[in-house]
């Protein structure tokens, strides 16, 4: 029997939920809320209009932090990748900053921007900037020399060369880098919201615990984070499938 591709994971999740429910029913305790409790928690959030508000707040921060990082890191990375001398000067600095967790920036972020959206956006920006910079740099290095020579051969101006050869040649790698980095942004926003702001899904989790140990809401928040992360990844993947974006150097 051939199942639709989405049915298998859905069935698997249903089985896991059932096991979870049965386990909690048999051993009620404080370890974890039951799936029904979590579902009621989500309904509760929807009824109070909090779910949409928090999701929008989190997405707003991710959009700005991720967007600003993409707008700055990608052009800079492409430039550094192209001009090797610039890269040689920059690379050690990048490698020093890269292993610093974005969370280590939290005190600095609050010092500079206070408690609020700006601090959270800054943290996401920092978390996305270096991975994107490195992706863009290596994407340029990986352009087959043949494309560059072919492009130069037809007498393109520098700007035409960038838009018609350099940019399309790096798009597949950039998209993969953007997809992975968007995942990082989504991780960072939750952490940032636990400390730097008073809205969003990260705030929901901390707040639900602090305000009376509502673990059903904690898990509800976690579930929403997971589901939205999955949706973001699906959107990026569908971009990768666009025909003129998706080509690999092996089939060129």
């Amino acid at each position: 029997m051939k199942l639709p591709f989405w049915l298998r994971p859905v069935l698997f999740i249903a089985v896991l939920l059932a096991v979870w429910q049965v386990a909690i029913d048999r051993h009620p305790g404080q370890l974890l809320p039951a799936p029904t409790g979590v579902a009621l928690g989500i309904l509760d959030l929807i009824r109070h209009g909090l779910l949409l508000k928090y999701v929008v707040a989190s997405l707003f921060r991710v959009t700005w932090g991720f967007g600003l990082a993409a707008l700055t890191a990608i052009p800079l990375g492409l430039m550094l990748g192209w001009y090797r001398r610039g890269e040689m000067a920059f690379y050690p600095l990048v490698q020093v900053f890269r292993p610093i967790s974005p969370l280590a920036w939290i005190p600095i972020a609050i010092l500079w921007f206070g408690v609020g959206d700006l601090a959270a956006i800054f943290l996401i920006f920092v978390g996305c900037f270096f991975p994107l910079l490195l992706t863009a740099m290596s994407a340029v290095h990986n352009i087959p020399a043949v494309y560059i020579n072919a492009g130069r051969n037809f007498g393109l101006s520098s700007s035409a060369f960038v838009s018609r050869v350099l940019y399309p040649a790096v798009v597949p790698q950039l998209l993969t880098g953007l997809r992975i980095t968007l995942g990082i942004a989504w991780l960072v926003v939750v952490a940032a919201e636990m400390i730097a702001v008073s809205s969003g899904l990260g705030f929901l989790i901390v707040d639900a615990r602090n305000a009376g140990n509502r673990y059903d809401l904690v898990v509800a928040g976690m579930v929403m984070i997971g589901v939205i992360g999955l949706l973001l990844d699906l959107v990026m993947r569908s971009l990768e499938r666009v025909r003129s974006f998706h080509w690999s150097t092996s089939e060129g």
Binding site: A150, S244, W247
Partner: protein, 262 residues
């Protein structure tokens, strides 16, 4: 040779491409490695030149210098009396592999060098060269959907579309299977005979050279020097089992230093 050159210049029919005392030295790990040494030859307009030599001898380096992708360390390359200083759309290189842009369709690739033309003229030119290389029906296909031979035809079409006076082909059929290679030779000859461009064709395939070229430039192993320039005085279509063909083929094999028997 020297007297012929003087006569040609006096008559005002100087050659299309003139290579004089060309040398190229690479810097590798701080050491100077000589790739080309004292290369001299002239190519007249419309001529089909094959450049053969042992693999790694510097054939491709020579072509890259002629096309302006690499600069020479000594000597000069002039085309119509003008020194080559960089890549130029008047001379297009066809690469062995991956030469077409995978993010563009067949039409997009052919139109790549035509962005300055008015739309109607561009479309006409694209349609013409789709016909020339027999890719009708694949106008909107991406390179990943084309066979190796079709991709090479597409590269030739993209090159011809900008109306270059010289085509440089760097082992263009080297990655194709032997049957496709023979078909492609026929196609290239047909195109060359109808379009009459000057062609410089690098190959390591002796048969390919004798089948295609007016003259074959034989290079020595690294550093490449000219060993001999052989004129292939057989009219097209060439009978590849004629005594003259076999004689020239043997002569070339001997030049390259290969035995007659395996």
């Amino acid at each position: 040779m020297a007297s012929a050159e003087i006569v040609a210049e006096a008559a005002g029919t100087a050659s299309k491409l003139r290579i004089q005392h060309l040398g190229k030295v690479f810097e590798r790990d701080g050491e100077a490695v000589s790739a080309l040494e004292d290369i001299n030859f002239d190519v007249s307009a419309g001529e089909f030149i094959c450049i053969v030599g042992p693999s790694g001898c510097g054939k491709s380096t020579l072509l890259n210098v002629l096309a302006g992708f690499l600069s020479s360390t000594s000597g000069s390359v002039t085309i119509d009396g003008e020194a080559v200083s960089g890549p130029d759309p008047r001379r297009i290189m066809v690469f062995q592999e991956r030469g077409v842009f995978p993010w563009l369709t067949v039409e997009g690739n052919i139109a790549f060098g035509l962005s300055k033309l008015p739309r109607a003229e561009r479309e006409e030119r694209v349609a013409h060269y789709v016909q020339t290389v027999r890719l009708q029906g694949f106008e909107n296909a991406y390179p990943s959907d084309l066979s190796g031979g079709m991709k090479q035809r597409l590269q030739v079409a993209r090159a011809l579309a900008v109306n270059p006076d010289i085509l440089y082909l760097d082992e263009p059929f080297g990655a194709l299977d032997s049957i496709t290679r023979v078909i492609m030779r026929g196609e290239l000859l047909r195109i060359w005979q109808s379009e009459r461009r000057t062609i410089l064709f690098v190959t390591h395939d002796i048969d390919e050279a004798v089948q295609l070229a007016d003259r074959v430039v034989v290079l020595s192993s690294r550093p490449a020097r000219i060993k001999d320039i052989l004129t292939i005085d057989i009219p097209h279509p060439r009978n590849i089992s004629s005594p003259r063909y076999l004689q020239l083929r043997d002569e070339l094999l001997k030049q390259i230093g290969l035995a007659y028997e395996i």
